[in-house]
């Protein structure tokens, strides 16, 4: 579906006409990311991050397939094959560091993309399905990132695998058998490494599938925009090609510069030195931390140190960590405000900038800090706020807030006026008696 004024694909070349009859892939592309897809004319730079995420996914798949050509998922040699890739394979260092830093870049981009959604209410009707699929992609990304970090079989790889599969042992009754089933043994070993490699290769393609659904679901109502006012007429939109393709291209350029700086000058800045020590099942590193993109959720996991009635602290922590993301699934229904954009929601905006963002940053910092005071207590307070934000503050704010007046249309917000602007029919009035 698209807007009625969307340009129609009309191939002129006989071959393209023949193709359009047999397999209309060019038509699909034209309507999805070409002139046939009108987007709001007022999209700001935050709307570039979806495309950047796609670029990151592509980088990861290309470099990942190449890494797999030089890697062996065997505990005896896995660590060495990575080092040999870096030292001996032509351009192997580039592939390895692009893949490792590409994962970080992907998460940077995706966090901006997600928080764009929080601020501008992108999750609200009619785009709930876009949001839900997005959360699924994020969960798949976390699983893929975790599995990939295990493959070099360094100390952090091994102990990360042990701790994360240990999360499942918190589940009552079936927990320990489940953990042994996941690992294929009592501790991470060859069986675990092999299946992690298999799944690490599989999941990115599952992500590609869900991304297709994500974009499909998005293109039914069309993209949201910074005002949160829906598209009314053709003057509110521009065709995706060339306008937004050019803007996305510019964003890719900026991204490429920043990514290159990380890749070529600080390739190990986001890694952990302990992962250059081969895995040793007999010795846990003194300070064990996951990759930086898991820190906020890791802090929530560690925030639970006391049993809660009959629920052990361990299970509480695990439930809270997963709950911290699962709560996003309910966001479209927790936020009842009819106004989408934070620009027109003065109270919501304050809680976003001075509540959610600081809480996430504090959790992020504490997740990377040692498991000691005062970090545990600070994590507890921040985790409490985090859940309160979604489960209490958002529903209450959306009920009591008086939003600012919205522009009549996207055109009005851009141009300052809209010739076609008209008052909405008063309550009970009909089109007929207005005319």
């Amino acid at each position: 579906m698209s807007f009625p004024w969307a340009k129609e694909y009309k191939p002129t070349h006989p071959f393209m006409q023949w193709m359009d009859e047999k397999l209309p892939v060019p038509r699909l592309v034209y309507n999805a990311v070409g002139s046939g897809y009108p987007v709001p004319r007022n999209l700001n730079y935050f709307w570039n991050f979806g495309f950047l995420a796609l670029i990151c996914l592509t980088i990861q798949i290309v470099t990942g397939i190449i890494m797999a050509m030089h890697y062996a998922a065997n505990t005896a040699v896995a660590f060495d094959t990575i080092e040999m890739t870096v030292r001996d394979v032509n351009w192997g260092w580039l592939m390895r560091y692009a893949h490792a830093n590409g994962a970080s870049a992907f998460f940077v981009v995706i966090y901006v993309h997600i928080f764009r959604g929080f601020y501008y209410g992108s999750y609200k009707a009619p785009r709930e399905m876009v949001w839900l699929l997005g959360v699924v992609i994020f969960l798949l990304m976390m699983a893929t990132g975790f599995l990939g970090y295990v493959l070099p079989w360094g100390q952090m790889s091994f102990w990360g695998a042990k701790v994360i599969t240990g999360l499942f042992s918190a589940i009552p009754l079936v927990g320990e058998p489940l953990q042994q089933w996941l690992l294929g043994g009592f501790a991470p070993d060859n069986a675990a490494l092999n299946r992690f490699f298999s799944l690490h290769y599989l999941l990115p393609f599952v992500i590609v599938g869900v991304v297709v659904l994500h974009i499909w679901a998005l293109h039914i109502p069309g993209s949201s925009n910074p005002t949160g006012v829906e598209v009314k007429t053709e003057s509110d939109t521009v065709p995706f090609y060339p306008y937004f393709v050019a803007k996305d291209g510019w964003a890719v350029g900026v991204f490429a510069i920043l990514f290159s700086i990380m890749l070529f000058y600080f390739p190990n800045a986001l890694g952990h030195p302990d992962n250059y020590i081969p895995a040793n099942p007999m010795s846990t590193p003194a300070h064990i931390v996951p990759e930086w993109y898991f820190w906020p959720f890791y802090a929530i996991l560690r925030a639970f140190t006391q049993d809660f009635f009959f629920i052990p602290a361990k299970l509480m922590g695990v439930m809270a960590m997963f709950g911290a993301i699962l709560v996003w699934f309910f966001l479209p229904w927790l936020d009842k405000s009819p106004v989408r954009s934070g620009n027109y929601r003065p109270l919501y905006r304050k809680f976003f900038w001075f509540g959610l963002i600081p809480a996430m940053l504090v959790l992020f910092y504490c997740g990377g800090a040692p498991a000691a005071e005062p970090y545990v207590m600070i994590s507890q307070i921040a985790a409490l706020y985090y859940f309160a934000h979604f489960l209490i503050i958002i529903p209450v704010v959306s009920a009591i807030e008086k939003p600012l007046p919205l522009p009549y249309s996207i055109s009005e917000s851009v141009l300052g006026h809209d010739e076609g602007a008209q008052l909405r029919p008063a309550h009970g009035a009909t089109e007929a008696n207005l005319a």
């Binding site: 102990w159 042990k162 701790v163 994360i164 599969t165 240990g166 999360l167 042992s169 918190a170 042994q180 089933w181 996941l182 690992l183 294929g184 043994g185 009592f186 501790a187 070993d189 069986a191 299946r195 099942p281 007999m282 010795s283 846990t284 590193p285 003194a286 300070h287 064990i288 560690r302 639970f304 140190t305 049993d307 052990p312 602290a313 361990k314 299970l315 922590g317 040692p370 498991a371 000691a372 545990v376």
Partner: protein
Amino acid sequence: MADEDGVRRRDFINIAAVSAAGVAGVGVVIPLVSQMSASADVLAASSTEVDISSIKPGQAIKAIFRKQPVFVRNLTPKEIAEANAVDAASLRDPQTLEERTKEGKENWLITMGVCTHLGCVPLGAGEGETKGEFGGYFCPCHGSVYDTAARIRKGPAPKNLEVPAYEFTSDTVVKIG
């Protein structure tokens, strides 16, 4: 054509076919799921014999059992007294030192070196490692603290360090597993 009960031949075939497909589906899923469980070579009973003659009171060693560390610790009389001074009923996972050691060998504390929280190796068995505020073990991952009987005293771990099956084959040799 319906018989006297109103059951048609087609209804029977429908139910039979769907049931057969369901049973076959379960039959296919079982091997697909089961192949991920620990394989026979992993499960093959592995036992470890540990010579404890060189472990002096206050010392501990790490042995390997099922590719995981086992702590073998020779408790000092003071550590035994500390463990016995605690009212076991007040603990998160109530157990006395006596229940966690063999009769007449109360000074030999043999436990898995696997934190019951998420599986890290606690510190305290190696030379110079911190033993935590209860003098037993301290897990650096998430801050679980174990006492001199390796019982959980503080932090997120739900259980005491697991005591594996073991026996003294002589005064100086322990067979674990």
